[in-house]
Amino acid sequence: MHKLLTDSPGQKMLMLGNEAIARGAVEAGVAMASTYPGTPSSEISLNFFQMSRESELYFQYSTNEKVAMEVAAAAANSGVRSMCIMKHVGLNVAADALMTLAYVGVRGGMVIITADDPSMFSSQNEQDNRYYGKLSGLPVVEPSSVEEAKELVGYAFDLSEQLQEPVLFRTTTRINHSSAFVTLGALKPPETKGDFQKDPFRYVTVPAVARRLHVKLLENQARAKELSEASPYNFVEGAGGWGIFCNGVSYSYVSDAVRDLGMQDRIRIFRIGFSHPLPEQKIKAFLGECEKVLVAEEGEPFMEEAVKAFAQEAGLTLPIRGKADDLFSRLYEFDPAMVRKTIASYFGIDYAAPPAIDVQDVPDIPMRPPNLCAGCSHRATYYAVKKAAEGMETIYPTDIGCYTLGFLPPLSMGDFLICMGSSVGTSCGFSQATDRKVVAFIGDSTFFHSGIPGLINAVFNGHNLTLVILDNGTTAMTGHQPHPGVDMSQLQMEGYGRVSIEAVVRAVGVRHVTVIRPFKVKKSIEQIREALAFDGVSVIISQEPCALYAKGLKLLKGKPFTVSDKCKNHRDCVNDLACPAFYIQDDRVHIDADLCVGCAVCAQICPENAIRPVKIEKTA
């Protein structure tokens, strides 16, 4: 049985924050969940995926976040408790649905997980999604710990049903990817079927309807504010004339700091867990009892600006600060020592940070950036495109996935990236605005997510570009989730369709379509050369399963290779491919047989023919 379906209330379990969120949803009787995977949220949906195979819960990987939100919104408007899960930038994709869903509202509870990523451990920006609450008018809740995350999910579902609005549940990476003990609660059996009651004047948002719905949304916001005032997740602790506002993980750092500094009777903490709408009256009352206030929040001055406005309304002139050069930064995540030091300096508390050790004499340690796996098909495709495009003035717009790593030297294949699907859209612009050959790269899952409209745009507007679709049969980067092109019967799962990338590409009117097998180096280069020469939109579909995924499924058949003494040590293999299976020992190139998957790409590019399968070596 899946560990998160354990039915023994009171039991303590070590859980990842993402597991606690999934468990909280199951304890709240969630019946439908949908997602597009994205770090740091991916383990939530992975657990739903697994649980759906052995419980009544329905779960789907949707093609993108907007679709995921629409799926969940319809379920919720049929009275079924639903959850949709995405990373922070995913909410940008779903924002169109979100903004008007707020007008329409829901009947069954709906919780939207937005996993923010301060410091950008695996994201293209560190936007602060609390602002989506303000923008849409929807409630936002934020847990400060793994345990609280589980409880807060149940609260969010109840809140959603009380207000008849979806609730935004905002986390940050340090909640998603922290672990702690969580006490299990009772499981609530999901009500998997509801019914939709027709009421077009509530659900069909033509202008006349929307005008009334906006009034309703504002009324709901007023009610949400009352609930925020009374919420146990907005609480005050400690005593004294100095005050600190905090939310999310910054609450942990602030409480540790106040304790470490011995300031429990000098500093009172206002922890905000229900952050939109803010509890205005409670905040004004708190300010009235303080002489000096600090706002400790990662990201943007969301609370700080509101608190200052509340103080102004209440006629209070006490100092309130948060984001400033000498206090908290808007950049990156916080850490306990930094928060402790900032609190001490702001309030003038005597505190000497423990002496740091001197690291000046530590030599430069060679960097260890992530690298495409040994035998990754993307490396082979990049190599072949690079060879085929030799002598051309190129631009390589790229996209989001493992293959983004190809922008690093020595492959250096990746010139521009802003968001999911941007490879194709930006290619249209580059091909128009420059005279260079534009070759875009996109993964299979990203193609389904948001690449197709860009491709249609290229065909319709007659752009001249080549799109390389890196089809490795999985959503590799986020942990090998399926996508619409995957054969689900391989996973012993029934009831799924399968969408052929090639058929889609042909159907939208691309006239030059080539399917290549990137491990056949010479042939691939020739085929790519031809596609690059085509005037108009050409598409290359490079098909080869993700090596790591295939390894996991025990589908790898290749035998490792080794470097024979024919090697003349010019190192084209190492320097052009940068496959991590190579290592240098005693100034000679070697291949780590444990890492090599036998893709044989290096063997095909070695001018001396020195790289041979291990077995042949032995018998020779």
């Binding site: 303590k12 070590l14 770090t39 740091p40 451990f121 695996s122 400060s144 710990s145 793994v146 990476t173 340090r174 990817h177 922290s178 672990s179 702690a180 003990f181 993980v249 609450y251 942990s252 750092y253 409480s255 540790d256 850490d335 306990p336 020592a337 930094m338 940070a353 423990p354 002496p355 740091a356 050790i357 001197d358 690291v359 004499d361 530590v362 030599p363 430069d364 340690i365 060679p366 960097m367 260890r368 950036p369 992530p370 690298n371 495409l372 796996c373 493992c402 790593l405 020595p410 980067m477 790591l548 190492v574 320097n575 940068a578 991590p580 190579f582 290592y583 240098i584």
Partner: protein, 198 residues
Amino acid sequence: MDTTRLIIVAVGGQGNLLASKVLGEAALRAGIPVRMSEIHGMAQRGGVVESAIVFGDAQSTIISDGEANVLVGFEPSETLRAVGKCNADTVVITNLAPLPPFTVALGKGVYPDIDDLQERIRSKVKKLLAFDSTALARKAGNVMANNMVLLGALLQTGVVPMTADQVREAIGATTKQAFVDTNLKAFDLGYEAARKAA
């Protein structure tokens, strides 16, 4: 209760997430509060993986520079890279078997000298325990048990607030059944190595 802050650094694939999980389970058995955090991201693509484990009453799940009580490094150059997490009272345990980053093969950087590396760490912290844990894992029957060897050494130092038996039990409960014997053997070899070095 006193807070003990432990950092584990490793290269993706060396099994430090499992090591943290074992420690977490052991803490659960011992009734000691524990909070941990880790940066997954692209661990499987050969990057650095860092786990922070905080035992005791603290709420924070991450550890600032200079605030680790103990640092365990699964790879020597990564131990050195993380030395900024230490202070003069920190205990450091490191594997000495290098896994040079790929940038070395590309000629972009020189792998640090192992003796010099130890000298530098030793001069800055309270205690350095350095040995070839990969070799001991191999002796136990599986190089992948390197993480368990280092856990054994960690438990011997007495810096973390659990007993070796609690960790042994957690290994039995957390790691794959087929590997339990090897893992326990690896744990004991690590424990022994640390005892001898003390």
